[in-house]
Amino acid sequence: MSILIFVELDNGSIKKTSLEAVAYGAEIAKVKGTTATVLAIGNAEASELASAGAYGASKVLHANASELATENAMAYASVLAAAVQQEGAEVVILPKSGLCDSMGARAAAKLGASIVSGVTELPDLTDGFKVKRSIYTGKAFATVAVKGAIKILGIKKNAIEAIAGSGSAEVVGFSPALGGGDFVAKVISQEKASGELSLTEADIVVSGGRGMKGPEHWQPLLDLAQSLGAATGCSKPVSDLDWRPHHEHIGQTGIKVAPNLYIACGISGAIQHLAGVNSSKVIVAINKDPEAPFFKAADYGIVGDVFDILPRLTKAVKESK
Protein backbone atom coordinates (compact mmCIF):
# COMPACT_ATOMS: atom_id res chain seq x y z
CA MET A 1 0.00 0.00 0.00
CA SER A 2 1.07 3.57 -0.55
CA ILE A 3 -0.25 7.11 -0.63
CA LEU A 4 -0.74 8.85 -3.97
CA ILE A 5 -0.99 12.63 -4.29
CA PHE A 6 -2.06 14.49 -7.41
CA VAL A 7 -0.44 17.90 -7.93
CA GLU A 8 -1.76 20.65 -10.18
CA LEU A 9 0.71 22.52 -12.34
CA ASP A 10 0.56 26.19 -13.24
CA ASN A 11 2.91 27.03 -16.08
CA GLY A 12 5.18 24.16 -15.12
CA SER A 13 5.27 24.93 -11.38
CA ILE A 14 3.55 22.92 -8.69
CA LYS A 15 0.77 25.04 -7.19
CA LYS A 16 1.01 26.00 -3.54
CA THR A 17 -2.22 24.22 -2.59
CA SER A 18 -0.80 21.12 -4.25
CA LEU A 19 2.32 21.31 -2.10
CA GLU A 20 -0.03 21.31 0.89
CA ALA A 21 -1.60 18.16 -0.56
CA VAL A 22 1.87 16.58 -0.79
CA ALA A 23 2.62 17.48 2.83
CA TYR A 24 -0.78 16.10 3.82
CA GLY A 25 -0.23 12.80 2.01
CA ALA A 26 3.31 12.49 3.33
CA GLU A 27 2.06 12.94 6.87
CA ILE A 28 -0.39 10.03 6.44
CA ALA A 29 2.38 7.95 4.85
CA LYS A 30 4.56 8.60 7.89
CA VAL A 31 1.87 7.45 10.32
CA LYS A 32 1.09 4.39 8.18
CA GLY A 33 4.76 3.54 7.66
CA THR A 34 4.58 3.76 3.89
CA THR A 35 5.70 6.02 1.07
CA ALA A 36 4.12 9.01 -0.63
CA THR A 37 4.10 9.11 -4.43
CA VAL A 38 3.14 12.16 -6.46
CA LEU A 39 1.35 12.18 -9.80
CA ALA A 40 1.88 15.23 -12.03
CA ILE A 41 0.19 15.63 -15.41
CA GLY A 42 1.39 18.07 -18.05
CA ASN A 43 4.53 20.00 -18.87
CA ALA A 44 7.10 20.57 -16.15
CA GLU A 45 10.85 20.32 -15.65
CA ALA A 46 12.03 17.25 -13.74
CA SER A 47 13.84 19.52 -11.28
CA GLU A 48 10.59 21.27 -10.40
CA LEU A 49 8.78 17.97 -9.89
CA ALA A 50 11.66 16.56 -7.81
CA SER A 51 11.10 19.46 -5.41
CA ALA A 52 7.96 17.66 -4.18
CA GLY A 53 10.52 15.59 -2.25
CA ALA A 54 11.06 18.55 0.06
CA TYR A 55 7.46 18.07 1.21
CA GLY A 56 7.86 14.33 1.84
CA ALA A 57 7.27 12.60 -1.50
CA SER A 58 9.74 9.88 -2.46
CA LYS A 59 8.70 9.47 -6.08
CA VAL A 60 6.95 11.51 -8.77
CA LEU A 61 5.08 9.89 -11.65
CA HIS A 62 5.11 12.31 -14.57
CA ALA A 63 2.49 11.85 -17.29
CA ASN A 64 3.36 14.20 -20.10
CA ALA A 65 1.72 12.87 -23.27
CA SER A 66 0.86 15.69 -25.69
CA GLU A 67 -2.89 14.86 -25.40
CA LEU A 68 -2.65 15.81 -21.73
CA ALA A 69 -1.31 19.31 -22.33
CA THR A 70 -4.74 20.91 -21.82
CA GLU A 71 -6.71 20.20 -18.65
CA ASN A 72 -9.17 17.40 -19.31
CA ALA A 73 -10.77 16.03 -16.15
CA MET A 74 -11.89 12.80 -17.82
CA ALA A 75 -8.48 11.93 -19.26
CA TYR A 76 -6.78 13.01 -16.04
CA ALA A 77 -9.14 10.71 -14.12
CA SER A 78 -8.08 7.77 -16.28
CA VAL A 79 -4.41 8.58 -15.65
CA LEU A 80 -5.08 8.91 -11.92
CA ALA A 81 -6.93 5.59 -11.76
CA ALA A 82 -4.08 3.89 -13.66
CA ALA A 83 -1.55 5.36 -11.21
CA VAL A 84 -3.61 4.19 -8.22
CA GLN A 85 -3.60 0.67 -9.64
CA GLN A 86 0.09 0.62 -10.55
CA GLU A 87 1.11 1.89 -7.10
CA GLY A 88 -1.47 -0.11 -5.15
CA ALA A 89 -2.45 3.19 -3.51
CA GLU A 90 -5.06 3.02 -0.77
CA VAL A 91 -5.24 6.71 0.00
CA VAL A 92 -5.34 9.33 -2.76
CA ILE A 93 -4.99 13.03 -1.97
CA LEU A 94 -6.00 15.88 -4.29
CA PRO A 95 -6.11 19.60 -3.55
CA LYS A 96 -9.71 20.84 -3.71
CA SER A 97 -10.37 22.56 -7.04
CA GLY A 98 -12.85 22.25 -9.88
CA LEU A 99 -10.47 20.07 -11.89
CA CYS A 100 -9.55 17.88 -8.94
CA ASP A 101 -13.15 17.36 -7.78
CA SER A 102 -14.13 16.25 -11.28
CA MET A 103 -11.15 13.96 -11.89
CA GLY A 104 -11.20 12.58 -8.35
CA ALA A 105 -14.87 11.70 -8.68
CA ARG A 106 -14.50 10.02 -12.06
CA ALA A 107 -11.52 8.06 -10.75
CA ALA A 108 -13.58 7.10 -7.67
CA ALA A 109 -16.34 5.70 -9.88
CA LYS A 110 -13.78 3.73 -11.91
CA LEU A 111 -12.19 2.27 -8.77
CA GLY A 112 -15.26 1.91 -6.53
CA ALA A 113 -13.44 4.23 -4.13
CA SER A 114 -14.80 6.49 -1.39
CA ILE A 115 -14.63 10.14 -2.31
CA VAL A 116 -14.69 12.85 0.32
CA SER A 117 -14.13 16.41 -0.84
CA GLY A 118 -13.63 19.57 1.21
CA VAL A 119 -11.44 18.01 3.92
CA THR A 120 -10.08 20.57 6.38
CA GLU A 121 -7.71 18.64 8.68
CA LEU A 122 -5.44 15.61 8.83
CA PRO A 123 -7.39 12.36 9.29
CA ASP A 124 -7.94 10.73 12.66
CA LEU A 125 -6.49 7.23 12.25
CA THR A 126 -6.98 6.06 15.83
CA ASP A 127 -10.31 4.37 15.08
CA GLY A 128 -10.72 3.63 11.39
CA PHE A 129 -10.18 6.55 9.02
CA LYS A 130 -12.05 9.69 9.96
CA VAL A 131 -11.82 13.09 8.30
CA LYS A 132 -13.35 16.45 9.03
CA ARG A 133 -14.91 18.21 6.06
CA SER A 134 -16.53 21.56 5.48
CA ILE A 135 -20.31 21.49 4.85
CA TYR A 136 -23.18 23.99 4.55
CA THR A 137 -20.82 26.29 2.65
CA GLY A 138 -18.42 26.79 5.53
CA LYS A 139 -21.14 27.15 8.18
CA ALA A 140 -20.39 23.74 9.75
CA PHE A 141 -18.18 20.66 9.64
CA ALA A 142 -18.92 16.96 9.41
CA THR A 143 -16.61 14.24 10.69
CA VAL A 144 -16.95 11.36 8.27
CA ALA A 145 -15.84 7.75 8.59
CA VAL A 146 -14.30 6.82 5.23
CA LYS A 147 -14.90 3.16 4.51
CA GLY A 148 -13.84 2.26 0.97
CA ALA A 149 -10.77 0.08 0.40
CA ILE A 150 -9.48 3.03 -1.63
CA LYS A 151 -10.06 6.48 -0.18
CA ILE A 152 -9.90 9.62 -2.30
CA LEU A 153 -9.75 12.93 -0.39
CA GLY A 154 -10.03 16.46 -1.74
CA ILE A 155 -8.32 18.74 0.77
CA LYS A 156 -9.04 22.42 1.24
CA LYS A 157 -6.44 25.14 1.31
CA ASN A 158 -4.77 25.45 4.75
CA ALA A 159 -5.73 21.90 5.82
CA ILE A 160 -2.06 21.57 6.72
CA GLU A 161 0.91 23.91 6.72
CA ALA A 162 3.34 22.93 3.98
CA ILE A 163 6.89 23.41 5.25
CA ALA A 164 9.72 22.59 2.84
CA GLY A 165 12.35 20.19 4.11
CA SER A 166 15.40 19.08 2.18
CA GLY A 167 14.49 15.89 0.30
CA SER A 168 14.32 15.41 -3.43
CA ALA A 169 11.99 12.96 -5.16
CA GLU A 170 12.85 10.57 -7.97
CA VAL A 171 10.97 11.53 -11.15
CA VAL A 172 9.81 8.72 -13.44
CA GLY A 173 7.80 8.89 -16.63
CA PHE A 174 4.25 7.54 -16.56
CA SER A 175 2.48 6.70 -19.82
CA PRO A 176 -0.76 4.80 -19.33
CA ALA A 177 -2.88 4.06 -22.40
CA LEU A 178 -5.17 7.00 -23.18
CA GLY A 179 -8.69 6.24 -24.36
CA GLY A 180 -10.81 7.90 -27.03
CA GLY A 181 -13.88 8.34 -24.83
CA ASP A 182 -11.99 10.84 -22.70
CA PHE A 183 -11.35 13.10 -25.66
CA VAL A 184 -14.81 13.47 -27.23
CA ALA A 185 -15.11 17.14 -26.32
CA LYS A 186 -13.55 19.69 -28.65
CA VAL A 187 -12.09 22.79 -27.06
CA ILE A 188 -13.18 25.59 -29.38
CA SER A 189 -11.51 28.48 -27.59
CA GLN A 190 -10.26 29.72 -24.26
CA GLU A 191 -10.66 33.18 -22.82
CA LYS A 192 -8.23 33.49 -20.00
CA ALA A 193 -6.92 36.52 -18.20
CA SER A 194 -3.15 36.19 -18.35
CA GLY A 195 -0.73 37.05 -15.61
CA GLU A 196 -3.54 37.26 -13.08
CA LEU A 197 -3.01 35.88 -9.59
CA SER A 198 -5.25 32.89 -8.94
CA LEU A 199 -8.03 33.73 -6.48
CA THR A 200 -8.14 30.31 -4.87
CA GLU A 201 -4.35 30.14 -4.48
CA ALA A 202 -3.76 33.70 -3.29
CA ASP A 203 -2.66 34.39 0.28
CA ILE A 204 -4.27 37.82 0.20
CA VAL A 205 -7.51 38.79 -1.53
CA VAL A 206 -8.81 42.36 -1.87
CA SER A 207 -12.46 42.36 -2.81
CA GLY A 208 -14.95 45.05 -3.76
CA GLY A 209 -18.72 45.37 -3.55
CA ARG A 210 -21.37 47.73 -4.80
CA GLY A 211 -19.91 50.36 -2.46
CA MET A 212 -17.13 50.80 -5.05
CA LYS A 213 -19.78 52.62 -7.11
CA GLY A 214 -18.74 51.48 -10.61
CA PRO A 215 -16.07 49.77 -12.69
CA GLU A 216 -14.36 53.10 -13.40
CA HIS A 217 -13.64 53.48 -9.68
CA TRP A 218 -11.79 50.20 -9.23
CA GLN A 219 -8.26 51.62 -9.51
CA PRO A 220 -7.73 52.35 -5.77
CA LEU A 221 -8.68 48.74 -5.02
CA LEU A 222 -6.37 47.40 -7.73
CA ASP A 223 -3.56 49.61 -6.40
CA LEU A 224 -3.93 48.20 -2.88
CA ALA A 225 -4.07 44.65 -4.25
CA GLN A 226 -0.93 45.24 -6.26
CA SER A 227 0.97 46.71 -3.34
CA LEU A 228 0.07 43.63 -1.26
CA GLY A 229 0.62 41.09 -4.04
CA ALA A 230 -3.04 40.18 -3.66
CA ALA A 231 -5.64 38.70 -6.01
CA THR A 232 -8.86 40.66 -6.54
CA GLY A 233 -12.43 39.51 -6.04
CA CYS A 234 -15.91 41.00 -5.91
CA SER A 235 -19.45 40.49 -4.66
CA LYS A 236 -22.17 38.91 -6.81
CA PRO A 237 -23.98 42.13 -7.81
CA VAL A 238 -20.66 43.54 -9.01
CA SER A 239 -20.14 40.67 -11.45
CA ASP A 240 -23.86 40.59 -12.33
CA LEU A 241 -23.55 44.25 -13.32
CA ASP A 242 -20.43 43.39 -15.35
CA TRP A 243 -18.31 45.78 -13.34
CA ARG A 244 -15.86 42.90 -12.87
CA PRO A 245 -15.45 39.54 -14.67
CA HIS A 246 -17.55 36.61 -13.54
CA HIS A 247 -14.58 34.54 -12.37
CA GLU A 248 -13.93 37.12 -9.61
CA HIS A 249 -17.36 36.58 -7.99
CA ILE A 250 -16.94 35.28 -4.45
CA GLY A 251 -19.57 33.67 -2.24
CA GLN A 252 -22.17 30.98 -1.90
CA THR A 253 -22.82 30.90 -5.64
CA GLY A 254 -19.31 31.93 -6.65
CA ILE A 255 -15.75 31.08 -5.74
CA LYS A 256 -14.88 30.08 -2.20
CA VAL A 257 -11.62 31.55 -1.04
CA ALA A 258 -9.50 30.78 2.01
CA PRO A 259 -6.67 33.34 2.05
CA ASN A 260 -4.67 34.39 5.09
CA LEU A 261 -6.07 37.89 4.64
CA TYR A 262 -9.36 38.98 3.04
CA ILE A 263 -10.01 42.70 2.69
CA ALA A 264 -13.64 43.58 1.87
CA CYS A 265 -14.17 47.07 0.45
CA GLY A 266 -17.72 48.41 0.27
CA ILE A 267 -19.30 44.97 0.64
CA SER A 268 -22.26 44.76 3.02
CA GLY A 269 -21.48 41.25 4.26
CA ALA A 270 -24.63 39.38 3.24
CA ILE A 271 -24.62 35.82 4.50
CA GLN A 272 -24.27 34.50 0.94
CA HIS A 273 -21.11 36.52 0.45
CA LEU A 274 -19.69 35.49 3.83
CA ALA A 275 -20.21 31.83 2.88
CA GLY A 276 -17.43 32.23 0.33
CA VAL A 277 -14.93 33.88 2.68
CA ASN A 278 -15.56 32.34 6.09
CA SER A 279 -12.50 30.08 5.82
CA SER A 280 -10.17 33.11 5.62
CA LYS A 281 -7.72 33.45 8.51
CA VAL A 282 -8.06 37.20 8.99
CA ILE A 283 -10.86 39.38 7.61
CA VAL A 284 -10.80 43.17 7.26
CA ALA A 285 -13.99 45.08 6.47
CA ILE A 286 -14.03 48.66 5.20
CA ASN A 287 -17.52 50.12 5.02
CA LYS A 288 -19.04 53.54 5.56
CA ASP A 289 -21.98 52.05 7.42
CA PRO A 290 -21.08 51.15 11.04
CA GLU A 291 -24.04 48.72 11.05
CA ALA A 292 -22.81 46.74 8.02
CA PRO A 293 -23.08 43.02 8.83
CA PHE A 294 -19.52 42.42 7.61
CA PHE A 295 -18.18 43.90 10.87
CA LYS A 296 -19.69 40.93 12.74
CA ALA A 297 -17.63 38.52 10.64
CA ALA A 298 -14.44 40.61 10.51
CA ASP A 299 -11.33 40.69 12.70
CA TYR A 300 -10.51 44.31 11.86
CA GLY A 301 -12.90 47.00 10.75
CA ILE A 302 -12.72 50.57 9.51
CA VAL A 303 -15.86 52.69 9.28
CA GLY A 304 -15.12 55.04 6.42
CA ASP A 305 -15.29 55.88 2.75
CA VAL A 306 -13.37 53.39 0.60
CA PHE A 307 -12.20 56.19 -1.69
CA ASP A 308 -10.55 57.90 1.25
CA ILE A 309 -9.26 54.76 3.01
CA LEU A 310 -7.91 52.66 0.11
CA PRO A 311 -5.26 55.12 -1.20
CA ARG A 312 -4.04 55.70 2.36
CA LEU A 313 -3.69 51.96 2.98
CA THR A 314 -1.78 51.55 -0.29
CA LYS A 315 0.57 54.34 0.75
CA ALA A 316 1.05 52.76 4.18
CA VAL A 317 1.87 49.38 2.62
CA LYS A 318 4.45 50.94 0.30
CA GLU A 319 6.02 52.91 3.15
CA SER A 320 6.22 49.84 5.37
CA LYS A 321 8.27 47.88 2.84
Binding site: M74, R106, G112, G154, S189, H246, I271, N278, Y300
Partner: protein, 245 residues
Protein backbone atom coordinates in the same frame (compact mmCIF):
# COMPACT_ATOMS: atom_id res chain seq x y z
CA UNK B 1 -34.93 16.04 -26.28
CA UNK B 2 -35.21 14.32 -22.89
CA UNK B 3 -33.65 16.19 -20.00
CA UNK B 4 -33.11 14.92 -16.47
CA UNK B 5 -32.55 17.63 -13.87
CA UNK B 6 -31.21 16.50 -10.48
CA UNK B 7 -32.19 18.78 -7.63
CA UNK B 8 -31.28 18.93 -3.98
CA UNK B 9 -33.59 20.00 -1.17
CA UNK B 10 -31.41 22.27 0.98
CA UNK B 11 -31.68 24.86 3.77
CA UNK B 12 -32.19 28.40 2.51
CA UNK B 13 -28.90 30.28 2.01
CA UNK B 14 -29.65 32.47 5.05
CA UNK B 15 -30.53 29.53 7.35
CA UNK B 16 -28.83 29.29 10.71
CA UNK B 17 -27.18 25.88 10.96
CA UNK B 18 -27.42 23.82 14.17
CA UNK B 19 -27.57 20.17 15.14
CA UNK B 20 -29.48 17.87 17.49
CA UNK B 21 -29.21 14.29 18.80
CA UNK B 22 -25.69 14.70 20.15
CA UNK B 23 -24.60 16.53 16.99
CA UNK B 24 -25.57 13.69 14.69
CA UNK B 25 -28.69 15.22 13.11
CA UNK B 26 -29.32 18.49 11.32
CA UNK B 27 -31.76 20.65 13.27
CA UNK B 28 -34.63 21.30 10.86
CA UNK B 29 -36.65 23.40 13.31
CA UNK B 30 -37.51 26.77 11.79
CA UNK B 31 -35.42 26.13 8.69
CA UNK B 32 -36.84 27.06 5.31
CA UNK B 33 -35.92 24.74 2.46
CA UNK B 34 -35.19 25.63 -1.16
CA UNK B 35 -34.11 23.98 -4.40
CA UNK B 36 -30.29 24.10 -4.39
CA UNK B 37 -29.36 27.45 -6.02
CA UNK B 38 -27.11 25.83 -8.64
CA UNK B 39 -29.72 23.14 -9.34
CA UNK B 40 -32.19 25.98 -9.85
CA UNK B 41 -29.93 27.37 -12.61
CA UNK B 42 -29.82 23.91 -14.21
CA UNK B 43 -33.62 23.70 -14.09
CA UNK B 44 -34.04 27.20 -15.52
CA UNK B 45 -31.81 26.39 -18.50
CA UNK B 46 -33.63 23.08 -19.01
CA UNK B 47 -36.95 24.95 -19.23
CA UNK B 48 -35.49 27.38 -21.79
CA UNK B 49 -34.08 24.53 -23.87
CA UNK B 50 -37.40 22.73 -23.80
CA UNK B 51 -39.19 25.89 -24.95
CA UNK B 52 -36.77 26.14 -27.86
CA UNK B 53 -36.35 22.50 -28.84
CA UNK B 54 -39.37 20.68 -27.42
CA UNK B 55 -39.07 17.52 -25.37
CA UNK B 56 -39.58 16.67 -21.72
CA UNK B 57 -37.99 17.48 -18.39
CA UNK B 58 -37.90 14.99 -15.53
CA UNK B 59 -36.73 16.19 -12.13
CA UNK B 60 -35.00 13.76 -9.84
CA UNK B 61 -34.28 14.02 -6.14
CA UNK B 62 -32.64 11.46 -3.90
CA UNK B 63 -34.28 12.30 -0.62
CA UNK B 64 -37.13 11.87 1.79
CA UNK B 65 -40.74 13.06 1.57
CA UNK B 66 -39.78 16.50 2.90
CA UNK B 67 -38.29 17.17 -0.58
CA UNK B 68 -41.74 17.01 -2.14
CA UNK B 69 -42.55 20.75 -1.86
CA UNK B 70 -39.32 21.57 -3.73
CA UNK B 71 -40.07 18.88 -6.31
CA UNK B 72 -43.54 20.37 -6.80
CA UNK B 73 -41.93 23.78 -7.20
CA UNK B 74 -39.68 22.38 -9.94
CA UNK B 75 -42.78 20.95 -11.64
CA UNK B 76 -44.43 24.37 -11.36
CA UNK B 77 -41.37 26.01 -12.94
CA UNK B 78 -41.73 23.75 -15.95
CA UNK B 79 -40.67 20.13 -15.42
CA UNK B 80 -43.10 17.51 -16.75
CA UNK B 81 -42.72 14.74 -14.21
CA UNK B 82 -40.62 13.82 -11.21
CA UNK B 83 -38.92 10.89 -9.54
CA UNK B 84 -37.91 10.77 -5.89
CA UNK B 85 -35.61 8.01 -4.68
CA UNK B 86 -36.84 7.53 -1.15
CA UNK B 87 -33.86 7.66 1.26
CA UNK B 88 -31.66 10.04 3.25
CA UNK B 89 -28.31 9.94 1.41
CA UNK B 90 -25.13 10.57 3.42
CA UNK B 91 -22.50 9.82 0.81
CA UNK B 92 -21.93 11.25 -2.68
CA UNK B 93 -21.11 7.83 -4.13
CA UNK B 94 -24.40 6.43 -2.84
CA UNK B 95 -26.36 9.40 -4.23
CA UNK B 96 -24.64 9.13 -7.61
CA UNK B 97 -25.35 5.40 -7.79
CA UNK B 98 -29.06 6.11 -7.24
CA UNK B 99 -29.11 8.72 -10.01
CA UNK B 100 -27.17 6.40 -12.32
CA UNK B 101 -29.66 3.59 -11.63
CA UNK B 102 -32.50 5.85 -12.80
CA UNK B 103 -30.62 7.05 -15.89
CA UNK B 104 -28.88 3.82 -16.89
CA UNK B 105 -31.39 2.91 -19.60
CA UNK B 106 -29.79 5.77 -21.49
CA UNK B 107 -32.97 7.56 -22.41
CA UNK B 108 -31.85 11.02 -21.31
CA UNK B 109 -30.00 13.21 -23.81
CA UNK B 110 -28.93 15.61 -21.13
CA UNK B 111 -28.50 15.24 -17.39
CA UNK B 112 -28.26 18.65 -15.75
CA UNK B 113 -27.16 19.17 -12.17
CA UNK B 114 -25.87 22.04 -10.10
CA UNK B 115 -22.15 22.69 -9.88
CA UNK B 116 -22.40 21.75 -6.21
CA UNK B 117 -24.97 21.17 -3.51
CA UNK B 118 -24.97 23.79 -0.75
CA UNK B 119 -25.28 21.25 2.06
CA UNK B 120 -22.59 18.74 1.07
CA UNK B 121 -20.58 21.15 -1.15
CA UNK B 122 -18.77 18.22 -2.74
CA UNK B 123 -19.00 19.11 -6.41
CA UNK B 124 -18.62 15.44 -7.32
CA UNK B 125 -22.03 13.87 -7.96
CA UNK B 126 -22.12 14.92 -11.66
CA UNK B 127 -18.70 13.46 -12.36
CA UNK B 128 -19.51 10.25 -10.47
CA UNK B 129 -22.75 9.84 -12.43
CA UNK B 130 -20.99 10.55 -15.73
CA UNK B 131 -18.41 7.87 -15.08
CA UNK B 132 -21.00 5.39 -13.80
CA UNK B 133 -22.98 5.85 -17.01
CA UNK B 134 -19.86 5.91 -19.17
CA UNK B 135 -20.67 9.34 -20.63
CA UNK B 136 -18.77 12.65 -20.44
CA UNK B 137 -19.32 15.14 -17.64
CA UNK B 138 -18.35 18.79 -17.36
CA UNK B 139 -18.56 21.36 -14.60
CA UNK B 140 -19.01 24.23 -13.92
CA UNK B 141 -20.95 25.07 -17.06
CA UNK B 142 -22.01 28.71 -17.44
CA UNK B 143 -23.49 28.69 -20.98
CA UNK B 144 -25.28 25.92 -22.85
CA UNK B 145 -26.86 25.54 -26.27
CA UNK B 146 -27.88 22.42 -28.14
CA UNK B 147 -27.55 22.06 -31.91
CA UNK B 148 -28.81 18.74 -33.18
CA UNK B 149 -27.00 16.11 -31.16
CA UNK B 150 -24.16 18.43 -30.16
CA UNK B 151 -23.89 20.52 -27.03
CA UNK B 152 -22.08 23.84 -27.33
CA UNK B 153 -21.16 25.11 -23.93
CA UNK B 154 -18.79 27.24 -21.88
CA UNK B 155 -17.10 26.07 -18.74
CA UNK B 156 -15.47 28.24 -16.12
CA UNK B 157 -11.76 27.60 -15.77
CA UNK B 158 -9.33 29.30 -13.47
CA UNK B 159 -9.14 32.95 -14.46
CA UNK B 160 -11.53 32.68 -17.38
CA UNK B 161 -13.65 30.39 -19.49
CA UNK B 162 -13.39 27.69 -22.11
CA UNK B 163 -15.79 27.10 -25.01
CA UNK B 164 -16.43 23.45 -25.81
CA UNK B 165 -18.42 21.16 -28.06
CA UNK B 166 -19.36 17.60 -27.24
CA UNK B 167 -21.85 15.03 -28.49
CA UNK B 168 -24.90 14.14 -26.36
CA UNK B 169 -25.58 12.46 -23.98
CA UNK B 170 -23.76 14.49 -21.34
CA UNK B 171 -23.85 15.23 -17.64
CA UNK B 172 -23.32 18.91 -16.84
CA UNK B 173 -22.89 20.69 -13.52
CA UNK B 174 -24.38 24.17 -13.99
CA UNK B 175 -23.84 27.61 -12.50
CA UNK B 176 -24.83 31.17 -13.33
CA UNK B 177 -25.07 32.91 -15.75
CA UNK B 178 -26.40 29.88 -17.63
CA UNK B 179 -29.95 31.18 -17.11
CA UNK B 180 -31.94 33.39 -14.75
CA UNK B 181 -33.75 31.66 -11.90
CA UNK B 182 -37.41 31.15 -12.79
CA UNK B 183 -40.35 31.89 -10.51
CA UNK B 184 -43.39 29.63 -10.94
CA UNK B 185 -46.51 31.37 -12.24
CA UNK B 186 -50.09 30.65 -11.12
CA UNK B 187 -50.81 28.30 -14.01
CA UNK B 188 -47.58 26.40 -13.31
CA UNK B 189 -48.49 26.00 -9.65
CA UNK B 190 -51.97 24.71 -10.56
CA UNK B 191 -50.74 22.16 -13.12
CA UNK B 192 -47.86 21.03 -10.89
CA UNK B 193 -50.36 19.46 -8.49
CA UNK B 194 -51.44 16.89 -11.05
CA UNK B 195 -48.07 16.16 -12.67
CA UNK B 196 -46.73 12.68 -11.83
CA UNK B 197 -44.27 12.32 -8.93
CA UNK B 198 -43.05 8.76 -8.78
CA UNK B 199 -41.48 7.56 -5.53
CA UNK B 200 -39.05 4.65 -5.91
CA UNK B 201 -36.99 2.76 -3.35
CA UNK B 202 -33.17 3.04 -3.53
CA UNK B 203 -31.04 0.35 -5.13
CA UNK B 204 -28.65 -1.43 -2.77
CA UNK B 205 -25.28 0.35 -2.68
CA UNK B 206 -22.65 0.25 0.06
CA UNK B 207 -22.20 3.57 1.79
CA UNK B 208 -18.50 4.30 1.34
CA UNK B 209 -18.52 7.18 3.82
CA UNK B 210 -20.77 7.63 6.85
CA UNK B 211 -21.37 10.52 9.20
CA UNK B 212 -19.77 10.39 12.62
CA UNK B 213 -20.71 13.80 13.97
CA UNK B 214 -21.27 17.45 13.10
CA UNK B 215 -19.46 20.44 14.57
CA UNK B 216 -19.87 24.19 14.30
CA UNK B 217 -16.95 26.57 13.75
CA UNK B 218 -15.51 28.28 16.83
CA UNK B 219 -17.30 31.60 17.41
CA UNK B 220 -15.57 34.64 15.98
CA UNK B 221 -13.97 37.08 18.43
CA UNK B 222 -14.96 40.75 18.44
CA UNK B 223 -13.99 42.91 15.49
CA UNK B 224 -11.25 45.41 16.32
CA UNK B 225 -12.38 48.79 15.05
CA UNK B 226 -9.77 51.21 13.75
CA UNK B 227 -10.78 54.88 13.60
CA UNK B 228 -10.90 56.11 10.00
CA UNK B 229 -8.42 58.90 10.67
CA UNK B 230 -5.87 56.30 11.79
CA UNK B 231 -6.57 53.82 8.96
CA UNK B 232 -2.82 53.43 8.34
CA UNK B 233 -2.38 51.61 11.66
CA UNK B 234 -4.28 48.69 10.10
CA UNK B 235 -1.20 47.80 8.06
CA UNK B 236 1.07 47.63 11.10
CA UNK B 237 -1.53 45.64 13.05
CA UNK B 238 -1.77 43.14 10.19
CA UNK B 239 2.01 42.85 10.34
CA UNK B 240 2.73 42.67 14.03
CA UNK B 241 -0.52 41.44 15.61
CA UNK B 242 -2.29 39.30 13.01
CA UNK B 243 1.01 38.36 11.33
CA UNK B 244 -0.51 38.01 7.89
CA UNK B 245 1.66 40.52 6.02
Amino acid sequence: MKILVCITNVPDTTAKISFTDNDTKFNKAGVQYIIGPYDDYALARAVELKEKLGGTITVLNVGEAESDPQIRKALAIGADDAIRVNCDPQDSYFTAAQIAAIAKDGSYDLILMGRESIDFNSGVVHSLVGEMLGIPSFSPVMKLDIEGSTAKFAREIEGGKENLEAPLPLVLGCQEPIAEWKIPNMRGIMTARTKPLKVVEPVAVDELATLDKYTLPAPKGACKMIPADQAETLISLLKTEAKVL
